[in-house]
Amino acid sequence: MAQVSFHQLAKTYDNGFQAIHGIDLEINDGEFVVIVGPSGCGKSTLLRMVAGLEEITSGKLLIDETFVNEREPAERDIAMVFQNYALYPHMTVFNNMAYGLKNRKVPKDKIASKVQQAAEVLQLTHLLDRKPGQLSGGQRQRVAMGRAIVRDPKLFLFDEPLSNLDAKLRGQMRIEIKKLQRQLGTTALYVTHDQIEAMTLADRLVVMDNGHPEQTGTPEELYSRPATRFVAGFLGTPSINFLDVQLTATGAQLSNGEHIKIAGVSDSRTITLGLRAEDLTCSTPAQADFTMSVELVEQLGSELQAVGVLQGTTEKLIVKLNKSEHLEEGMTLPLKINRNHWHWFDADTGQRVDSLFTTQNAPQQAIAV
């Protein structure tokens, strides 16, 4: 159990490519922090820098107030679970889990009892004599976890540990990992590109893009108040709808000429409006903010999902609707915006803009005319 601090952690490769651009982060004792981002955003590199597998170019990495930049992976008291598990194929499950302890000269009887204990927690007791080749994907995953927990490390590092499993197993293991981490109280840093995994596992979430941290916060914060257009687009399924609008004195003009009425607009620029699929509702043509041409209706069981475009344009829209709504492909659908949950982003920088309207504390209190 430990606190981990990043101080302007950065990584530049020998060829000049800067993979990580100075990240600051404080991970509290026992916290589960997930780093999420698209592939190539540098999240795995960051994790490997913490593990000591990748050199830190500049900045400071502290584990429990100790400066560990220069330490070998084994001396950092961390344990890592790899994407492909990296189990030693010629060793039994027992030896796979015991290997790290053996190298640390832990007495044999203690190793045996520790491995037994870990095996019980992970329900691996009956598999201890098998080799990794004889195990299923989920079991291998558990062995990899076991190898991490037998050592009682200060910090768990997870590098996309679930991406090699099928969807159902992934869901199960996700819950098990979270439960196990809670139970052990070990600080954990988890890297994934899967935003559902990220949202469900994290106490705190770091969204990364191009080696920059875009936003850090609880999953709820990031979902309801994304700081950038990127974060808004990355979190949430289906992904958020973006519409380019032109602000006018009376509201916002959509690209198809439709007009969203908003009071007290204090600006007149082009701006991006982000609307989540669940924040749009069916309306009457008279009261609607804009109209959608429905191209496809998807039945999700609990609800309906309409896929289409903003009428008269090619701007894509996805809307989640009550399953009692009557929808047909090809129809036009008048939609109303839930004005408590709209997100405005600068069209150029992608930064969140909250001060568009004269009414203070917009957008929450922005009122339709």
């Binding site: 992976p73 084994a74 890592m80 790899f82 010629h90 290997y99 790290g100 190298n103």
Partner: protein, 288 residues
């Protein structure tokens, strides 16, 4: 009617296939068979009638002469077989060890000029032993290693082929294994011994077979290196018997030469048969 023609056609095809296979097998086995059969005939019979295709009654005499020693052979066959065995084993084991270590250094350590060094090693593949035989002899002679097992084996141990195979194999071992081992506190030596060596057993077996057979069949090098019959290998022994043929005077002892040839083929065949499974596994798939 239709069914019958189909069956006939199938039979014909099978017949054709088998005849190809059988003739191929005969082609390969025939020389060995002739050697084996001819070794059981007396030298007179061989001289009069030529190569034999059927067993004769002189087998016991031939093989007891070979194994117990005769004037024709400067050393008894068991001694030469032993020498060949030492040469083959030393050659194979030495090559496997050296090339594993060399490949380990090339793949896992980033030292300056690693890539050019690898290509230099690789280039020596193009140069057979015969090219460097005079300097090699010079070195061994200066070290006073003529007529010794060390002199026979050590100069041949460096192996570009082996290094190349192991390098390719190590490169296919997932990098995460090394990383996991580093996190588990294994240093370079521990990783090599605990992880890499157990993973390469099939590869080691494959290279061992190839190298053992190559070492067993070495001719030119032992011929140059050894003047003392104590160190003659079986291949040299075979040549010796034929030498008397050129010198003339006595009746050429073809049966002895054939007998030696038969004996000389047995150990490599045994090695291949025993290690065959691992050999194929090593070349085709690996435990990773």
């Amino acid at each position: 009617m239709q069914v019958k023609t189909v069956i006939n056609k199938k039979r014909l095809q099978a017949l054709f296939r088998h005849s190809v296979l059988i003739s191929g097998a005969l082609f390969l086995v025939m020389p060995l068979w002739i050697a084996l059969m001819s070794s059981t005939h007396s030298p007179e019979a061989l001289f009069r009638e030529g190569l034999q295709f059927l067993p004769g009654s002189y087998g016991y005499e031939t093989y007891s002469q070979i194994l117990m020693g005769s004037d024709l052979l400067s050393a008894p066959a068991w001694r030469m077989l032993l020498n060949s065995l030492i040469l083959g084993l030393g050659f194979a084991i030495g090559k496997v060890i050296i090339s594993m270590i060399a490949a380990y250094a090339l793949v896992y350590f980033r030292f300056p000029l690693a890539v050019p060094l690898f290509w230099m090693i690789f280039m020596t593949l193009l140069l057979p032993l015969e090219v460097r035989i005079i300097p090699s002899y010079e070195v061994v002679a200066k070290l006073n290693l003529l007529n010794s097992y060390t002199g026979l084996i050590v100069p041949l141990i460096a192996s570009a082929t082996g290094t190349f195979f192991f390098r390719q194999f190590y490169r296919s071992v997932p990098a995460e294994l090394l990383e996991a081992a580093r996190i588990d506190g294994a240093g370079p030596l521990r990783f090599f011994i605990d992880i890499l060596i157990p993973l390469s057993t099939t590869m080691m077996a494959a290279i061992f077979i190839i190298m053992f057979v190559a070492g067993w069949n070495q001719y030119l090098w032992p011929l140059l290196m050894t003047t003392d019959p104590e160190y003659y290998s079986i291949v040299i022994g075979i040549r010796q018997v034929f030498q008397t043929l050129n010198e003339g005077g006595t009746l050429p002892q073809f049966n002895i030469a054939f007998g030696l040839t038969v004996l000389a083929t047995i150990p490599p065949v045994l090695v291949v048969v025993i290690f065959q499974k691992m050999f194929v596994k090593g070349l085709v798939e690996t435990e990773k």
